[in-house]
C-alpha cells in the first residue's frame, strides 16, 4: 500500500508543514530531522520544517499564534493550554512511556516516594516537565509540594546532587544516562512511570488545523510512524546521522544510547496492539485529573474531547 500512496502524492504539489518542537534539534528527534537524507516526509509530498523552542509551552504557543501547525509538546503544557480554554487536539502519542525519574545518591537511601518527605529536590526549571512529574509522583505517595523543598537547579541538575546541595533531583532517562557517564556514582532511581505512566510527549494541533488539514496531518503521522519505525529498526544508522543533524550529536556512542532509550519510550503494550502513536485516553484523563488535584489547573478537563485517534494509521 505504501508504494501506491507514494505515487499518488508525488505528483501533488509539496505541502509545507511546520512542527513546533519543545527543544532544539536534538538526537532523540533524529527521525524528524533527517528528512533530507531519508525522505520520510518528502516522499509523501511534505516539506517539514522543525521550529525550535524552549519548552513545551513554546511549542503550544507557536501553534496558537499560527507560527506552526503541529506542536511536539508534553501533556503538562497541553493541560495548561486546555485549562485556559484553548481548543486543541492530541493526534499522536510520541512517547507513551513516562521517561521522568527522581534520582538520589545511594547513601541517602531514598527508595520510595514517601522517603522524599522533607527533602530538598532539584528540578531543571520550574517550566520543565521535571517539576510537574515530580509533583505527580509525590501526589501518588500522598505528599504535596509543601512536604518537600523544590529548588531550580538549571539544566545541569546532577551537579548540585553530586555536590550535596540537593538530596534528590528530578530528571529524565536520557539525563540520567548522561549523568552516569559523567561519573554520577551509585544512585537510587524512582521512575514516575511506575506510579502514573503519563506519556512524555504528544503531537498536538489546534482544532482549526485539525479540521482544515486532516489529510495532510494524516500523511504526516504516517510518515512519522515510518520514521519512528526506521529509528527503532536502525538505531546505529540514526546515531550516525544524528552526528550531522542534531546539535547535541557529537558523540555517536552516546547518540546510540539515547536513541535506544527513546525507542523504548516509543512503544507500549498499546502500540504493540494498535501501532505506533496510539493514544491511551484513560491515562491522559488520569493525568489531567491529577493536575487538577494538584491545583496546577483549575478546571476539570474532559480529555475525550481533546483526543482523537482517527488520523493515526492503525496496524
Amino acid at each position: 500500500g505504501t508504494q501506491q500512496q507514494k505515487d499518488e502524492t508525488s505528483d501533488r504539489k509539496e505541502e509545507s508543514l511546520r512542527v513546533a518542537s519543545w527543544s532544539q534539534p536534538i538526537t532523540e528527534q533524529t527521525n524528524l530531522l533527517v528528512d533530507e537524507e531519508k525522505g520520510f516526509f518528502k516522499e509523501r509530498g511534505l516539506d517539514v520544517t522543525v521550529i525550535p523552542g524552549a519548552g513545551g509551552g513554546d511549542a503550544v504557543k507557536n501553534i496558537l499564534s499560527g507560527q506552526a501547525d503541529i506542536a511536539f509538546t508534553d501533556p503538562g503544557s497541553l493541560f495548561f493550554a486546555l485549562d485556559k480554554g484553548e481548543k486543541l487536539k492530541v493526534i499522536y502519542n510520541v512517547y507513551p512511556q513516562n521517561v521522568f525519574n527522581i534520582v538520589s545518591l545511594k547513601e541517602k537511601n531514598i527508595t520510595k516516594p514517601e522517603d522524599l518527605k522533607g527533602k530538598t529536590i532539584g528540578v531543571y526549571s520550574l517550566t520543565s516537565g521535571t517539576r510537574q512529574n515530580l509533583l505527580v509522583m509525590l501526589n501518588q505517595a500522598g505528599l504535596s509540594e509543601k512536604d518537600v523543598k523544590i529548588v531550580e537547579t538549571g539544566i545541569s541538575n546532577f551537579a548540585p546532587l553530586m555536590q550535596g546541595q540537593v538530596d534528590a533531583t528530578a530528571a529524565t532517562d536520557t539525563g540520567l544516562l548522561v549523568g552516569k557517564q559523567k561519573g554520577l556514582g551509585e544512585v537510587n532511581v524512582l521512575e514516575v512511570k511506575d506510579y502514573l505512566n503519563i506519556p512524555s510527549d504528544v503531537f498536538v494541533v489546534t482544532e482549526k488545523t485539525f479540521t482544515e488539514k486532516k489529510e495532510v496531518l494524516k500523511t504526516f503521522l504516517q510518515a512519522y510512524q515510518n520514521s519512528a519505525n526506521w529509528m527503532i529498526e536502525h538505531p546505529e544508522e540514526a546515531a550516525s546521522l544524528a552526528k550531522e543533524y542534531a546539535i547535541d550529536g557529537k558523540d555517536e556512542k552516546q547518540n546510540l544510547e539515547i536513541i535506544t532509550l527513546r525507542n523504548a519510550a516509543s512503544v507500549s503494550s498499546l502500540t504493540e496492539e494498535q501501532g505506533l502513536g496510539a493514544i491511551d485516553l484513560d491515562i491522559l484523563q488520569q493525568g489531567a485529573d491529577t493536575y487538577e488535584k494538584l491545583g496546577l489547573i483549575k478546571t476539570r478537563l474532559n480529555m475525550e474531547e481533546a483526543i482523537t485517534g482517527e488520523l493515526i494509521h492503525k496496524k
Partner: protein, 252 residues
C-alpha cells in the same frame, strides 16, 4: 510645546494600548493577552497580596545588586582609568565576565553562592557593573589639559585630582553609565531569579510560563518596567541636583 508633551505622551499611550487591545483580540491569550486582561491580573495580584513578597524580593535584589555593582563598577573604573597598567591587565577578565551569558553559568553561581538571595545579587551586580565601569574609565580620561596642569601646579595628589577634578568633570558621562546600569540591574535580578529562584518576579515569570499563564507573566513584566522607570527617574533627579552648576551657562 513642553506643556503638550504630557498630552502627546498620553495620546501615544492610548493609541498603543488600543491597538494592542485590538491585536490581542484576534489572538490567543496564551500568546498575547490584552492590556485590559493584564491590568486586571495585576490589580487582582496586588489586592490579594500575591505580588507583594515577589516585588519586595526582586526590589531588594535590584537595590543591593545595583549598589554593589555600581560601586564596584565606579571604583574599578576609577582604578582602571587612572592606572593604565591595571586597565591592560584586567580588561580581558572584565570582557569575559560580560560576554558570558549569566544564565549559562547558573550551576556555578549556585555552587558558589547558594540558592538564596546572594547568587541573585551577585548576578545583578555583575550585569550592571560594566556600563558604569566603561563610562567611568572613559569619562575620567578626556580631561582638559589646562585643568590637569592646574592641579599639577597645585601639587594635588592623584586622589585629590580624582575627587576634585576628574570625577566632577566626568560626572555627566558617569551618570549616563549609571542610567544604563539601573535598567540592566532590573534584567539582572530577573535573570538571577530564572536560575533557581522560588521567590521574586523572575520566578513568577518562569512559573507563569510553565503554567502558560501569560497574563500573569505580562503583569510581572509590567511591574519590572515600572521599577526600571522609577530607578531611571531617580538617577535623573540626582543628576538634576548634582549637575545644576554644569548646566548653568553650558546649556541654553
Amino acid at each position: 510645546m513642553m506643556k503638550n508633551v504630557q498630552l502627546y505622551s498620553f495620546l501615544l499611550f492610548i493609541v498603543l494600548i488600543v491597538s494592542w487591545e485590538i491585536t490581542a483580540g484576534n489572538m490567543s491569550e496564551l500568546v498575547l493577552p490584552a492590556p485590559s486582561v493584564i491590568f486586571f491580573t495585576l490589580i487582582d495580584g496586588i489586592k490579594s497580596g500575591y505580588f507583594l513578597p515577589h516585588i519586595t524580593r526582586t526590589a531588594a535584589e535590584i537595590v543591593l545588586g545595583l549598589f554593589l555593582g555600581s560601586l564596584f563598577g565606579f571604583v574599578i573604573g576609577l582604578l582602571m582609568g587612572e592606572i593604565e597598567f591595571l586597565r591592560k591587565l584586567l580588561f580581558p577578565y572584565v570582557i569575559a565576565s560580560q560576554a558570558v551569558p549569566k544564565l549559562a553559568l547558573a550551576p556555578l553561581f549556585i555552587l558558589w553562592f547558594g540558592f538564596g538571595m546572594t547568587s541573585k545579587v551577585v548576578i545583578t551586580a555583575l550585569i550592571c557593573f560594566f556600563p558604569l565601569l566603561e563610562n567611568t574609565v572613559t569619562s575620567i580620561q578626556y580631561m582638559d589639559k589646562q585643568k590637569i596642569e592646574l592641579f599639577r601646579m597645585l601639587k594635588a595628589s592623584r586622589w585629590q585630582t580624582l575627587i576634585h577634578l576628574k570625577i566632577p568633570a566626568g560626572m555627566p558621562g558617569i551618570l549616563a553609565g549609571l542610567r544604563v546600569a539601573v535598567v540592566l540591574a532590573v534584567v539582572g535580578a530577573v535573570v538571577g531569579e530564572f536560575i533557581g529562584g522560588s521567590e521574586g518576579l523572575g520566578a513568577v515569570i518562569i512559573a507563569s510560563q510553565a503554567m502558560m499563564d501569560t497574563p500573569l507573566m505580562f503583569a510581572s513584566l509590567l511591574l519590572l518596567t515600572i521599577m526600571g522607570m522609577g530607578l531611571y527617574q531617580l538617577v535623573n533627579i540626582i543628576e538634576k541636583i548634582w549637575l545644576k552648576p554644569y548646566k548653568k551657562g553650558s546649556k541654553k
